[in-house]
């Protein structure tokens, strides 16, 4: 019988901040989204104050209780590196690890003896070496492991590990747990089933598989089979191929001038081109959009434009194309709130020029390799097109960005000699 586990970092972004900042331990802490807009990670102390996931931070600050809450802007270079550390600690101890998201990893524990103690040691090692506290859920399928993880998180008497391999334990848990707790059952689906009187996981598991397929198609049937202990979803050890690359941002300050909007879109194109080259791809389709703020009472304007382009991964070409499209949708006298670019129609990068090509592919590839090498060595953004702007007035607010402790030499953790 296969055995899966899901290990996930408790309030991962907050834990990554706390790893290097002891003054943040034991106090309520939230990490905010890009632009310092919404709370996207909360410690238990912050949750206890009623701060909700995704809650706009300027609204939360109106509550007196939230004034004492520590907050940080999101520091993705740090979180990415701490996630890498968590993965590597696990990969050295477990046969197979699937990095499912930045803070969740599925493990294949099939055939390992004394699993509960093994998982406790895993937790201790991740905590000690990668500095991230975690919870572990164990089960015969990924869906059950995910549910067990959720229970381990909610019930502190389990000390971070919940094992749902035993069918009797599972039956008790299913009877007490709402269907909406299940991975793969969305809010709408749960609502639809609730109307039919199916509210607990036990109700759902009891249904005839044919009925589930009728109600929720084959996807729902797979969730039910997994909950019944029949493993249908194997570990995925390769990320799926990219279908699209999107780089979009809401602006820190509303953008009114053509120059600023053009700079922002040029910067998005630069980032999108970097992602393309990391994956060794060229894009043949490009789209650009911009819109005003739908919530602040401003006049509403939203437009997008797409075009087929000669396949490329060249930053300068993509900027030129993106700005050309942007010019067609630009209207003056609006306050732009958000913009973005999307690339699609991917093909593997070509080393030689194509027949009828209008550009020198070899020269471009060499220029881009040099650009990427400089930025890899001296830090992202060291060398960038002038079109992306020097001042970046449009850039997001990041008022409380913690140091990039592990990725920038000038931002290392500082210890006071005693």
């Amino acid at each position: 019988m296969p055995v899966f586990a899901l290990i996930d970092g408790n309030s991962f972004y907050c834990s990554a901040e706390r790893a290097f900042a002891p003054e943040l331990r034991g106090v309520p802490l939230v990490v905010l989204s890009n632009n310092d807009g919404c709370a996207i990670a909360r410690t238990t102390e912050a949750k206890a104050l009623g701060i909700k996931m995704g809650e706009p931070w300027h609204l939360a600050l109106r509550r007196p209780a939230c004034k004492q809450v520590e907050w940080r802007s999101s520091n993705y270079p740090l979180y990415g590196d701490m996630s890498r550390r968590m993965y590597e600690v696990l990969a050295a101890r477990v046969p197979q690890v699937e990095p499912y998201s930045i803070d969740e990893m599925f493990l294949d524990l099939t055939g390992l003896p004394d699993l509960e103690n093994f998982c406790r040691r895993l937790r201790d090692d991740v905590r000690r070496l990668a500095k991230i506290p975690t919870c572990v859920g164990i089960g015969p399928t990924k869906t059950i492991a995910k549910l067990a993880n959720r229970i381990a998180k909610d019930d502190y008497t389990l000390h971070g590990v919940c094992d749902l391999r035993d069918p009797a334990t599972r039956a008790t848990c299913y009877a007490q747990s709402p269907l909406s707790m299940v991975w793969g059952i969305g809010g709408k689906t749960a609502e639809k089933l609730n109307k039919l009187g199916i509210t607990s996981i036990a109700d759902f598991v009891r249904l005839a598989p044919e009925q589930v397929r009728e109600l929720l198609t084959v996807t729902g049937a797979r969730v039910q089979a997994e909950l019944r202990g029949q493993s249908c979803i194997p570990l995925t050890l390769m990320p799926p191929p990219r279908q699209a690359i999107a780089v979009t941002r809401s602006f820190g300050r509303l953008v009114t001038s053509w120059g600023e909007l053009r700079e922002a879109v040029a910067a998005f194109a630069t980032r999108a081109a970097e992602k393309l080259r990391t994956d060794g791809l060229q894009a043949g389709h490009l789209s650009v959009f911009a819109h005003t703020n739908p919530h602040n009472g401003d006049a509403w304007y939203s437009a997008s434009r797409a075009a087929q382009i000669e396949p490329t991964a060249d930053t300068l070409t993509l900027i030129t194309e993106a700005v050309r499209l942007l010019r067609t949708i630009w209207r003056p006298n609006f306050r732009y709130f958000k913009a973005g670019i999307m690339l699609g129609d991917f093909a593997p990068a070509q080393k030689q020029s194509r027949l009828f090509s209008t550009r020198d592919a070899v020269k471009s590839a060499r220029a881009m390799a040099a650009l990427d090498a400089v930025n890899a060595r001296f830090g992202s953004g060291t060398l960038r097109p002038a079109a992306t702007g020097m001042i970046k007035t449009w850039a997001g607010r990041q008022a409380r960005h913690s140091p990039r402790y592990t990725t920038r030499a000038e931002e290392m953790l500082i210890a006071k000699a005693f």
Partner: protein
């Protein structure tokens, strides 16, 4: 051309079959290990241990704490580096400055964060 000591144009280089890669200090320090963190020193209190302000410590959370080792310690909200001592069944942080009393690494807000395994000084 990219000359490496072996690829001569006229006489064949006698070193051609014996070329080795240069010493890679980054590999020796092995900072890519998930348990290793670089830490910058502030202050000269550990001068007696040969550790000065501005030094970069290689702190390894996988290295077990031991009496006499230098370690990065998180204590009552501060990040400190000092010498570990084990006495009376508990860990203490001993100061590098004579006459300064050691402090106990104990309580809710105390953690031996990582043991220092190496040091880099870029300016001597």
């Amino acid at each position: 051309m990219n000359y490496n000591g072996g690829n001569t144009t006229g006489f064949a280089s006698p070193a051609g079959d014996n070329l080795e890669g240069r010493i890679d200090l980054a590999a020796m320090l092995d900072l890519s290990r998930p348990s290793r963190y670089p830490v910058r020193v502030a202050g000269d209190a550990l001068a007696s241990r040969g550790i000065f302000a501005g030094d970069i410590l290689i702190a390894d959370a996988a290295s077990p704490p031991a009496h006499g080792k230098v370690a990065v310690v998180m204590l009552n909200g501060a990040v400190l580096v000092g010498q570990l001592a084990y006495r009376q069944q508990q860990w203490w942080l001993a100061s590098g400055v004579e006459g300064t009393a050691p402090i106990a690494v104990a309580g809710d807000d105390a953690e031996i964060w990582a043991v220092v395994t190496g040091l880099i000084r870029t300016q001597v």
